[in-house]
Symmetry: C2
Amino acid sequence: MKETVDQRELESRILKLLADEDLKELGHTVQDVAPEDIVLTLERLTENQRAIVFRLLHKDEALEVFEALDPSVQSDLVHGLRDTEVAELFEGLDPDDRVWLLDELPATLAPKLLLGLSDREKRLTAVVLGYPQDSVGRRMTPEYVTTRMDYTVADTMVRLRDRIDDAETIYLLPVLDDARHVAGVVSLRDLIAANPDDVIANIMSEAQSVRASDDAEHAARKLTEAGFVAIPVVDSERRLVGLLTFDDAMRIIENEESEDSARQGGVEPLRRPYFATPIMQLVRSRVVWLLVLAVGATLTVQVLDVFEGTLAEVTVLALFVPLLIGTGGNTGNQAATTVTRALALGDVRARDLARVLGREARVGLMLGLLLGTLGLVLAGFVYSWQIGAVIGLTLVAICTVAATIGGIMPLIARWVKVDPAVFSNPFISTFVDASGLIIYFLIARAILGL
Amino acid sequence: MKETVDQRELESRILKLLADEDLKELGHTVQDVAPEDIVLTLERLTENQRAIVFRLLHKDEALEVFEALDPSVQSDLVHGLRDTEVAELFEGLDPDDRVWLLDELPATLAPKLLLGLSDREKRLTAVVLGYPQDSVGRRMTPEYVTTRMDYTVADTMVRLRDRIDDAETIYLLPVLDDARHVAGVVSLRDLIAANPDDVIANIMSEAQSVRASDDAEHAARKLTEAGFVAIPVVDSERRLVGLLTFDDAMRIIENEESEDSARQGGVEPLRRPYFATPIMQLVRSRVVWLLVLAVGATLTVQVLDVFEGTLAEVTVLALFVPLLIGTGGNTGNQAATTVTRALALGDVRARDLARVLGREARVGLMLGLLLGTLGLVLAGFVYSWQIGAVIGLTLVAICTVAATIGGIMPLIARWVKVDPAVFSNPFISTFVDASGLIIYFLIARAILGL
């Protein structure tokens, strides 16, 4: 039995052997660890190092490792291998994993690889490739085992043993009628627990299913929410076309979470692990949003320009600008974060706009009253009670506006069919900054009588 | 077969029947839909509405629905039910689900419920309850089926059928030696594919395992990364104590993602679905961070106070304050978001500090050069070339500092054993604001010769 190894130790050993160019010892080292353990280390190496280590793996292990790599890393690796090696790996992948990889490969390479496939694999891959980019059809497996209502448990077990090598999962079997409609499902657990003579119709459960054209994240969340091991995927006429398995669902959700997390921070999602991402790509993932936000922020320069007279007259007003717009930004971010997450989990839906608006306005007002009272007392004590009143009132107004805007922005994004996370926190901060400044100076002018 | 229903339609129907107090028709409606479909709707109702709908469910369905509810919602529901109803539901839960619920219940209620359990369930629950809060031991199932190296496949199948009703999963069987050490694992798939006379030793695979005291998220990610259906959980002497199943792993990860997403936005994680959270609890989830950040922001007031003379002399400098600190905050957020995510996924580890620092400093410098050039030209054109030079240079410095700080903060958090997401984006913004202002005014003074 191969021991579970310390990842750190393994990595330092591999890096040292690479530096020493001791390929023989390196070969022994990587062949001795479990495929799961080598994967994380591979994803932390540079492209060249990765190709060297990968080619030292045993053939059968190489496929297992390749399957477990991130598709973007697979794609990098493909460039460093010989055509015959690539063709073999490609043939060995499951059809849905093959499509993950194809989505990453340059358009020129994909057709060449597809043509090299055996007829069976070509056909299966075509099924999956036929569905749009973000649909569950593109992530399902077309290799499954089915049964029928009038079959017995024993019949089904024979069928299952026959097809066990090809099927991606055998833990859930869709039960089909004559028109290939899903009449129910039966789990392998139900089959094992049943009597061999039992008829499937009597032991099957009702089937939950998803449409092949459904959004992949939506389908994946439906599966994980219910804790299913797989869920049938049907076409528009409710005929079975594939199965979404729990491991692919987890992968879909993890990718979506990475995307949401990135957008929430105003970054374009990285396609590959951090250390496998070249510096220039890190720059590219950030520069567009940074520029957009900086251009948006010139609004604040213009607003301040308009109020320059007020500023010159009472310079002390300038001192509170970062504090006030910072608090507004934070309040807006908090609301946006909460609602974006609730949307992703399905707790809140786009048409809940009025309900969310009402809640967030109340939350914002309460936060504003709390902070405003504090601001009134502190600024009043240190500067003057007039300044205190300006700061206090501004905080109440800014918090209410910011929480409301932050809360409904993700819903508006959903309405106009944009990823809610795109109206990300930095975006909301920038927007709230300008409106916060206007509120501030209007209140200041009114109270100070300028 | 129960049809999959439109969630919206179901919800409006239920709300209307609740308003009409037509309990008879409401009973028919909720008994007609699949348990999975009623769950989402239940989580969107108020506490009272939820208790009414839940009590109209058939007894066997009620348990299934209860199991699928969020533990926080279960906990609310418990208060609205009779003691005998609660005791029955509690006995029906799996030991690990029971512990999720116990974690939510008030300390006074938990012992009472535990005492009401049958001896077997009491014993199993005690195993899980014995491990610390965030460990995988507390999330594992103590109900599994094992086999031995010298058993045949046929022996194992008999054993499996015997225990099928109690086991939470039968898709993975740990293979034990005499000392209860895990010698390997065999999947149900392997068992089905094998010959009945095959000996387990010949068909088992090497076992990956996790320690019961390991962090639950770490263990869950290990499972999902490898796409396992379950993973054995062992004690410090490597003896089997339970199994972590894929559905529990997904639940752990989803909770962690919610927590990270909340912290990234400067909110304490909500324990329950958005609409099931009372307004005052939303306020509480935000007010502490908002106060901490506001207190942090008073630093900016003090910095500006120091430079008030410079500001009074050249009022135009005040116009760029929100733009500059906003850009600094955004750059810092971007870096922190990327590194926090990479840490969560295991792509980056705490000891990679130097490597991350080097990368982020370079990325920040490049972003700064780009934005700085733009700032130089624009501000130079509109205001004066001297002001342009101040803005340009400040942007270069701020972006470099912000990306570096933002990038290493999550790692420092890991070093001092704090959740990296706690040094959240708003936290970093506030920190970067003050240092950005100092940089700005020092550069301004130098260039403008003040």
